[in-house]
């Protein structure tokens, strides 16, 4: 998806230089929210201020919004059908596998850092046993980062 954004913004429309785009991207990835939306905010803001930001966010979110709206309106009518239910029953283990694969991928980079790994387990147990709201996990993780100064 990001090469797609880059082609539009840097190569075709030339509204940002390569450097500005990379800088915007690094900010977009570190802030909360969807990277595509954050990148759109950054580009819009840079080119035409607040109005530019509103327009580019609208452009970045509208296609997904419309696609999901269309799918949802059909899906909610037909989700009870056995054929639909059985398809989703089959797809669920694959979703779990995809997410578990992401844990392994990201976890590998933490394996070199025992402190990170121990904190990840600690936060997982907070979610698992205490069922804390995930926003607390984000805050605790961030604050531990500040305390550890790394």
């Amino acid at each position: 998806m990001l090469p797609l954004i880059k082609r539009e913004i840097v190569e075709k429309k030339k509204v940002l230089t390569d450097e500005e785009f990379i800088e915007g991207l690094s900010v977009a990835q570190s802030l909360p929210g969807a990277v595509a939306i954050n990148t759109a905010c950054f580009v819009g803001r840079k080119v035409r201020g607040i109005a530019g930001m509103l327009v580019s966010v609208l452009g970045a979110s509208l296609p997904s919004f419309l696609i999901i709206l269309l799918i949802t309106s059909f899906f909610l009518q037909y989700r009870q059908l056995e054929v639909v239910q059985n398809f989703f029953r089959g797809a669920t283990p694959a979703i779990v596998a995809l997410i578990a694969g992401a844990v392994v991928d990201i976890g590998k980079s933490a394996l070199n850092d025992w402190e990170d790994l121990i904190i990840a387990f600690f936060l997982f147990f907070l979610l698992f046993f205490l069922e804390l709201h995930p926003l607390w996990i984000v805050l605790i993780g961030g604050i531990l980062g500040v305390v550890r100064r790394k």
Binding site: V27, S73, A91, A100, R149
Partner: protein, 174 residues
């Protein structure tokens, strides 16, 4: 009132969804299934599958779906806007103080500290979905086979989901 709740729920999701869509799933589940009970466990599972099968950010997909399920099209508009609002606020803020943001030690340590949090969040997302959706031996075997494919990166995620869904149709009946 319901619009206000939708707005607040997805505002919270927008503000705290660091580290991509998968890490945002526990946050979305907490708001949408546990706190407000807008979706059942089954509907949430289906939503996650639909989000993976369609283009676009998971957060946007979940906001649009949930809003529509709860109150129709205006619910979608409110939830999706609420999800995007923190991005706009934070990018505007950071934009003004870009060099400060990039050089401030506290901000950078905080962001660095999110790495283990993201691993924990994706881990609990995998556990929670497995607990909700893997209920028999066939699903366990399918999950293991799918994981092997994911691990060796031999298959496109969308193709994997479709094949797995078709396997479901064959096993459980059409």
């Amino acid at each position: 009132m319901i619009y206000f709740q939708l707005f607040l729920a997805f505002l919270r999701v927008g503000f705290f969804s660091f580290g991509g869509g998968m890490a945002a799933l526990p946050l979305i589940e907490k708001e949408v299934v546990d706190t407000y009970q807008w979706l059942s466990n089954g509907e949430f599972l289906e939503l996650v599958t639909l989000s993976e099968l369609t283009p676009g950010p998971i957060g946007i997909n979940c906001a649009t779906f949930t809003g529509f399920k709860v109150t129709g099209i205006w619910g979608s508009v409110v939830a999706t806007s609420a999800f995007c609002l923190p991005s706009m606020l934070l990018v505007s803020l950071v934009f003004r103080f870009l060099s400060y943001f990039k050089e401030n030690a506290v901000v950078q340590h905080f962001l660095r500290g999110l790495r283990p949090a993201v691993i924990a969040l994706i881990g609990i997302a995998a556990y929670s979905l497995a607990q909700k959706g893997i209920k028999d031996w066939f699903a366990i075997i399918l999950g293991i086979v799918a994981f092997i494919f994911v691990y060796w990166k031999k298959v496109d995620p969308i193709l994997l989901l479709l094949l797995s869904g078709v396997a479901g149709l064959i096993w459980y009946g059409v």
